[in-house]
């Protein structure tokens, strides 16, 4: 991430004129250093009401028992684990962006990684609540950990995927949190340096004594790389292990070897969709258009399209294998998905996850902000249905027809789910209020190489191939943060 002259063919990652280091800091810290605006308050109140609904629903469940949900003797998991997997899946984009893209030197990640990581952490928190909430006796949740017998607990069953799950999720959460927080340190220091009074003292503590020396920066870079190295396998492992909750069972529709890669692809798919949902709003409301540019949006849409296609192929493979296996239970499970009582859920999943991302083949759609935003939500609806289809339609009609049953959610099921979305947004909005939503230090790295300002300067210097300049100019047309005049300026040469 050194500042060198980048090829003019590459699209700019920071747009806007007269961007200085100071302006970057000013722009990004605007929401942190000022009173929140009306939009924030409206969003926060709605989210907080959602969180309240979550407290009520979960509280009611804890008070009366899991019977508050719509589960029954046949369907032992439904919305609870659907929501759990959905949130864990959403949590995947953060690590992918912060770790994998860092290792691959994809510097466009610099302006989106902070929010993506924050989203990951909050999504994993939401997921973790289900781990506890779905238990019949949640006050004994700590039994999942292999604590010494003196603690009063007994040893756990290392054969059980739920134990693997507990490790996977807790590791993932810890690593993501540390990674995110390390990245925050220089930015917190920036806030500290500009603040006064109590606020300064608090940020001072939070910044761990960051002094901005070369040594500090050097260590920061090294820690980032090491953590990226540690997190990269987690991107693959977490959802692989979550998928094993199902894949290692004997239930037709669960007992499937394709699950690990299919779940990981699905997780990245839904994670990017959620990042898209959040950032499209954030860049508008907080005026971050110059930092989160159309290039970012389009790149993420491309990833959504690729992972969506992988997921689609996985669906078709499942169907083929069900037929090819010749196992009547397996065949029935999939026939039941397609044409059984929950077929509407299956087709909702197919439409949202397989068909809708294919629209991103069209550049017009890929670069349209409203359509991208809508589709990003469609994708997450589809991914919720994917988990619902896997969990409920496999369970509700398994081996013995006498036990076949339907699952109908109760208000508590809905409340816990809608409420968890409220919890998520409450946390996210608080994050935007108190911490910089874009990694200031990392965006600053881009200024001298990948900004439009720098590229315009290069063009003006006039040592470039005119054809390449024309190409660059054309690529700018999709940017909503670049005006006609800016583009014309490139022509004057």
């Amino acid at each position: 991430m050194s500042s060198h002259n980048e090829s003019i063919l590459r699209e700019p990652l920071v747009t806007g004129k007269d961007i200085t280091y100071a302006k970057v800091t000013d722009d990004i810290l605007l929401p942190v250093e000022n009173k929140p605006n009306k939009a924030w308050w409206i969003g926060f109140i709605m989210a907080a009401l959602g969180a309240l609904l979550w407290v009520v629903s979960v509280g009611y469940t804890f008070w009366t028992g899991i019977g508050a949900w719509g589960l029954n003797k046949t369907v032992g998991w439904a919305w609870d684990i659907t929501d759990f997997v959905w949130w864990v899946g959403i949590g995947h984009a953060g690590t992918l962006i912060s770790a994998v893209l860092l290792l691959f030197r994809q510097n466009w990640r610099n302006s989106i990684n902070r929010s993506a990581e924050a989203m990951t952490i909050f999504a994993v928190i939401c997921a973790a609540t289900y781990v506890v909430a779905h238990m019949g006796r949640p006050w004994l949740a700590y039994w999942i950990f292999p604590l010494p017998n003196q603690f009063g607990s007994l040893w756990v069953n290392f054969n059980s995927p739920l134990v693997w799950d507990a490790f996977a999720i807790s590791t993932y959460f810890t690593v993501s949190l540390v990674f995110w927080y390390c990245g925050l340190l220089p930015d917190i220091a920036s806030v500290r340096d500009r603040a006064a009074g109590l606020k300064r003292r608090i940020y001072s503590i939070l910044s761990f004594g960051w002094n901005g020396s070369v040594k500090t920066w050097q260590r920061f870079e090294i820690v980032s790389l090491i953590l990226a190295g540690i997190s990269t396998p987690l991107v693959l492992s977490v959802h692989t292990i979550v998928s094993m909750d199902f894949a290692t069972s004997v239930i037709p529709g669960w007992h499937t070897t394709i699950f690990p890669p299919y779940f990981v692809a699905g997780a990245i798919f839904s994670g990017f969709a959620m990042v898209q949902t959040l950032l499209l709003v954030m860049r508008k409301v907080l005026n971050f258009e110059n930092y989160i540019t159309m290039f970012h949006i389009e790149s993420m849409n491309k990833i959504i399209m690729v992972t969506g296609s992988i997921v689609g192929i996985a669906y078709l493979t499942e169907l083929f294998i069900a037929w090819y296996s010749g196992s009547e239970y397996e065949m029935y499970a999939f026939a039941n998905r397609i044409a059984g009582p929950y077929a509407w859920a299956y087709w909702a999943m197919m439409t949202c996850n397989v068909i809708s991302p294919q629209l991103f083949w069209f550049k017009k759609i890929r670069t349209s902000i409203p359509i991208s935003w809508v589709l990003s939500i469609v994708v997450n609806i589809g991914m919720w249905f994917e988990r619902f289809v896997i969990i409920v339609t496999s369970l509700h009609r398994d081996y013995i027809p006498s036990s076949w049953a339907m699952f109908y959610p109760t208000w508590t099921d809905v409340g816990v789910f809608v409420g968890s979305i409220g919890v998520f947004f409450t946390l996210f909005l608080l994050f935007l209020r108190f911490l910089p939503g874009i990694a200031i230090a990392e965006v600053k790295l881009l200024l001298k190489s990948a900004s439009l300002q720098q590229k315009t300067k290069l063009v003006k210097e006039g040592h470039l191939d005119p054809e390449q300049v024309a190409f660059f100019r054309d690529s700018l047309s999709k940017y909503d943060s670049v005006s006609e005049e800016d583009i014309k300026e490139l022509e004057t040469k």
């Binding site: 949640p138 398994d398 006498s402 036990s403």
Partner: protein
């Protein structure tokens, strides 16, 4: 230096305004509304801000202090003087009897908790029916009366006695009649008591009337043979059984006893000997018996009589008029059946379920022609289980209406609920001066009576029974009376001026009459539970065929009257029977063996017929009988139901049964009608679709097997060629690979064998399992949510037969146009105790694990309720405690009080909320059996340990034992060629072997 500077707190103080002066005298700025709070306004008074804060502070403090208190310790107090026979933890068994069946009552620390059949008994000696199993709960029923009542007020027994004796004396002096209305009494001592009573009050007379009456059979036998009795049927002697609407395995006369007899010709032992009876059922509604028939033909109630006429004609070559002319299928079947019957002459039986004298007379003639008397029907050792006379009760009503009756007692009788014309009963009762009920609760009749003298439960009583000729059983108390009740017989004796204890009375009666000439003493009887004087030789009988033409005419008339509209068939449900035990939550939650409906009765209608009426799933229908009685019932789509008919169970719609039984379903008794002196349970009705929908609480909602090999069946012909037909172990044909280590099981290896040919699906094992293992009853709403807790269930699958093919897939069945031809199979399903149990590997905390004896254990205390095990169970037999059923007012069907909880089996913990549970193979019984053998320093013998389900099964369909003992019954059964294992191909290695269902069908 003193400062005389004076600070003032406000301008008011400076100026010393009058308001300030008056206020400054009080301690508080505002008046404290202590008075208001303390007077009756209480908490609704206005609370000032300061008071709110104070109250908050106080409340918080008080709650904190209260929370500091330690949880109250409930101490179990040991016996100060230990009764000699009671050892805590060791059960005592007492011989007693329930409705004439000799049983052993298991008591723990002085409280009866379970009934088991007396294995030494004559007749039914293994298994009991569901109502017997559930009857222990009736003892602890909170809805019972705590003492006698007079005019609605509590009263002492002495005062009540005075009132009663005054009324009796007055009636006697005025020469008015005294009546004791009772359901059948076959207890010799009770009858002797009544005799004493009538000695004292000569105008007194006993009127026996049963809610569901068999007086048609009694009268027919009187007419045919001059013997007014119900015969004792011997299905064990029958090779061919033809039943015309008689649910003889379920609710007709003595279902469990018939089951034991019937199965002896059909179970695996009989099959191994190459023997299997053939059973043909003609019926309208789908009965438990119909589901077990080899051939079942749907006929309307109006066709029962004509069918029997046709059968008689074919068998005897006679030419009675009115033979069946409709229903081609039935006519075809009839011809085959008649040939069968003739070939099996002397080893055949025809039974009819109708209570019509004419139909029963004709049936008698057919049985005479088949030489059934002396072989399959025994008239010389008749059954005394039902002696009720419908005419006698009608006569009583007439007497009462004339004002001749001054005193009436109701003993185990509730005509205001179960007499079809309750209005007439009410009218008649209004004319009677003194009405007394012996009911244990304020039931429909008792609540309209002047006095209630609550009777003991049978577990608190002395008594006896004479269920059939020459066979006497004893009833002995197993607990002191729980409430201030008194045995009805004791009351009658007291009112008759006898001071004898009823115990002494029973004992004297036995010693002087029943045991006279016997080597047994009274003590012997208390130990063995019964006295059998030996059977009379069963002789043959002849019937006067000349009168049959008149009989046939009566049948034809009745049949025509029925055929004119939609026909209604009233029946007893297997769980609730006549409705006397309606407040028993175990029975209410026992799924109907056929429909799998709990907690309701319904209008059972053939799906195709329902379609034609515009009715669907969850519809409501109003049934209006020919007498104008109207009820609105939920519709049940019943494959196999005859077209144009609707079946409704009686025994529901109680309004004063108690907390659990009130307003469950609708009362169907009023549809019945008195025809020619007997109650007829068939009538006609109009059906109209009612507004709204109603979801029945069914434990099974998918009714077909979808072509899966979970059920394997064959025919008797194929079985004879190859006993292993359609059976077989997967491992015989496939090589399997294991991820798991094989563990040695050197000691015991507990397994089960379940004979699908023996299981009739009656469900008494379910109730037995509930009681033995303290399984909570969850109520209608929770069953609707598919959350019943039964560890053992009986899966029932329909296959629709059409054009010689059997359809088991829902999609195919949808296109069929005939839903009358149905074959049914019942499959008991519980934890299969898999060797490679999928539940065990997925539990994160090892709350479920395998034992070295092949059992899949469940450690409730370790379970924290992820439900993964239940999801991963291919048999879906695990049950989760969704709520704290023991202590949650929403589930207060019966157990949320300390008293009823006495019914719990102390050997089994009750489970908390959030914990998984499932069949443990009665681990407590296994442990007790092993311990006993150890104490006696011997090897465990096969049969030492019996499970609750297998000991409740009169068909011996569930065989439990040690697979490591090659000579155990279960090992032998599992070596049977018919054995297969359910879902064996997924290699979970289940421990429970099933035997194929064999049907003795006609070869097409």
């Amino acid at each position: 230096m003193d400062s005389n500077k004076k600070y003032w707190k406000g301008l008011e103080e400076l100026h010393q305004t009058p308001a300030f002066v008056s206020k400054s005298k009080g301690e508080f700025a505002e008046p404290v509304p202590v008075e208001d709070v303390l007077n009756e306004a209480g908490l609704s008074t206005k609370t000032p801000r300061r008071d709110f804060l104070k109250a908050l502070g106080f409340g918080l403090g008080a709650v904190t202090l209260a929370a500091c208190e330690r949880t109250p310790v409930h101490k179990a107090v040991p016996y100060l003087i230990k009764p000699e026979e009671i050892t805590p933890g060791i059960p005592n068994f007492y011989a007693s009897s329930f409705k004439g069946q000799s049983v052993l009552v298991r008591t723990r620390e002085g409280r009866p908790i379970l009934l088991e059949a007396n294995p030494a008994a004559v007749g039914l000696n293994c298994g009991t029916d569901a109502s017997a199993q559930a009857s222990v709960l009736d003892l602890y029923d909170m809805s019972k009366l705590k003492g006698p009542k007079f005019n609605g007020a509590d009263i002492s027994w002495d005062e009540l006695d005075t009132h009663v004796v005054t009324a009796l004396d007055a009636a006697s002096a005025a020469g008015k009649q005294i009546r004791i209305i009772s359901s059948t009494i076959n207890s010799p001592s009770t009858l002797a008591t009544v005799a004493r009573f009538t000695d004292r009050y000569p105008t007194a007379r006993l009127v026996e009337v049963d809610a569901v009456s068999y007086s048609g059979i009694i009268k027919a036998n009187q007419r045919s043979f001059g013997k007014a009795v119900v015969p004792h049927y011997r299905f064990d002697n029958a090779d061919v059984i033809v039943s015309v609407a008689a649910d003889f395995l379920g609710t007709w006369l003595s279902g469990e006893e018939h089951t034991q007899q019937y199965v002896s010709n059909r179970d695996y032992k009989s099959l191994q000997n190459g023997r299997m009876s053939r059973h043909i059922q003609f019926e309208g509604g789908m009965s438990l018996t119909g589901t077990n028939a080899d051939v079942r033909v749907a006929i309307k109630p109006s066709e029962e009589g004509p069918l029997l006429i046709a059968l008689y004609n074919v068998i005897t070559g006679g030419n009675l008029p009115g033979a069946l002319s409709t229903n081609q299928k039935a006519q075809t079947a009839l011809k085959l059946v008649a040939q069968e019957l003739l070939q099996a002459r002397g080893r055949a039986v025809v039974v009819a379920g109708s209570n019509d004298v004419a139909i029963q007379t004709l049936t008698n003639a057919i049985n005479v022609a088949l030489q059934s008397y002396g072989s399959t029907i025994d008239l010389d050792n008749p059954s005394y289980q039902y002696k009720g006379d419908d005419e006698a009760f009608a006569a009583f009503l007439a007497e009462a209406n004339r004002g001749d009756v001054d005193v009436v007692f109701f003993l185990d009788s509730n005509p205001l609920y179960d007499y079809p014309n309750a209005g007439a009963v009410k009218e008649a009762l209004a004319k009677i001066k003194f009405k007394l009920s012996f009911a244990d609760r304020e039931d429909e009749t008792a609540s309209e009576s002047d006095a209630i003298a609550p009777n003991h439960n049978f577990l608190e009583s002395w008594g006896d029974a004479n269920p059939r000729g020459g066979y006497y059983t004893i009833v002995q108390p197993t607990i002191n009376p729980v409430y201030n009740t008194r045995q009805a017989e004791q009351s009658l004796l007291l009112w008759a001026g006898e001071k004898t204890e009823y115990y002494t009375f029973v004992r004297n009666n036995w010693e002087q009459n029943i045991l006279a000439g016997s080597s047994k003493s009274w003590k012997d009887v208390l130990q063995t539970g019964f006295e059998h004087k030996g059977d009379q030789p069963a002789s043959t009988y002849n019937v006067d065929t000349a009168s049959l033409a008149a009989v046939a005419n009566t049948i034809a008339t009745n049949s025509k009257a029925l055929a004119k509209d939609i026909e209604v068939q009233l029946y007893q449900s297997v769980a609730l029977k006549d409705g006397k035990q309606a407040n028993n939550a175990y029975l209410q939650e026992l799924p109907d063996p056929v429909s799998k409906v709990t907690w309701d009765n319904y209008a059972a209608i053939n799906p195709k017929f329902a379609e034609s009426l515009g009715l669907g799933e969850n519809s409501l229908v109003t049934v209006e009988g020919e007498n104008g009685y109207k009820v609105t019932l939920p519709v049940l789509m019943q494959p196999g139901q005859a077209m144009g008919t609707v079946s409704i169970a009686v025994g529901y719609g109680r309004t004063k049964a108690g907390k659990a039984g009130n307003n469950v379903g609708q009362n169907a008794y009023p549809f019945a009608k008195l025809v020619n002196g007997t109650l007829h349970f068939n009538t006609t009705a109009k059906l109209t679709k009612a507004r709204g929908t109603y979801e029945l609480a069914q434990t099974q909602t998918h009714h077909t097997i979808e072509g899966r090999n979970v059920i394997r069946e064959t025919t008797f012909t194929q079985y004879k060629e190859n006993p292993g037909h359609n059976a077989g172990r997967w491992t015989d044909k496939h090589k399997t690979y294991d991820l798991w280590d094989k563990y040695e099981q050197p000691g015991h290896k507990w397994v089960m064998a379940i004979d699908l040919n023996a299981c009739t699906g009656c469900g008494s094992c379910i109730v037995a399992c509930n009681i033995e293992n303290n399984i909570p009853v969850v109520g209608r709403d929770e069953v609707r949510r598919r959350r019943e807790m039964h560890w053992l269930r009986i899966d029932r699958y329909y296959a629709i037969e059409q054009d010689g093919k059997s359809y088991t897939k829902e999609d195919d069945i949808r296109d069929l146009d005939d839903m009358e031809n149905v074959s049914v199979v019942h499959q008991p399903m519980m934890c299969q105790h898999c060797e490679h149990a999928p539940c065990e590997t997925v539990c994160p905390v090892i709350a479920t694990m395998h034992s070295s004896e092949g059992l899949n254990h469940m450690a409730y205390n370790r379970c924290f309720g992820t439900r993964y095990c239940a999801n991963n169970c291919p048999y879906k037999v695990r049950r989760f405690n969704w709520f704290n059923y023991w202590n949650d007012s929403r589930f207060d069907n019966y157990l949320n009080n300390e008293f009823t909880q006495l019914v719990l089996n102390p050997d089994v913990v009750s489970r908390s909320r959030g914990v998984m549970e499932k069949c443990s193979m009665c681990i407590q019984r296994i442990q007790a059996g092993k311990l006993k053998a150890k104490m006696e320093k011997r090897q465990l013998r096969d049969g030492d340990i019996k499970l609750a389900c297998s000991s409740a099964c009169s068909a011996n369909a569930i065989i439990f034992g040690d697979a490591n003992d090659p000579n155990s019954e279960v090992s032998k059964a599992l070596r049977n060629e018919r054995v297969y294992y359910v879902l064996e191909e997924i290699n979970v290695q289940p421990g429970i072997g099933y035997m194929t269902k064999v049907r003795n069908t006609y070869e097409a």
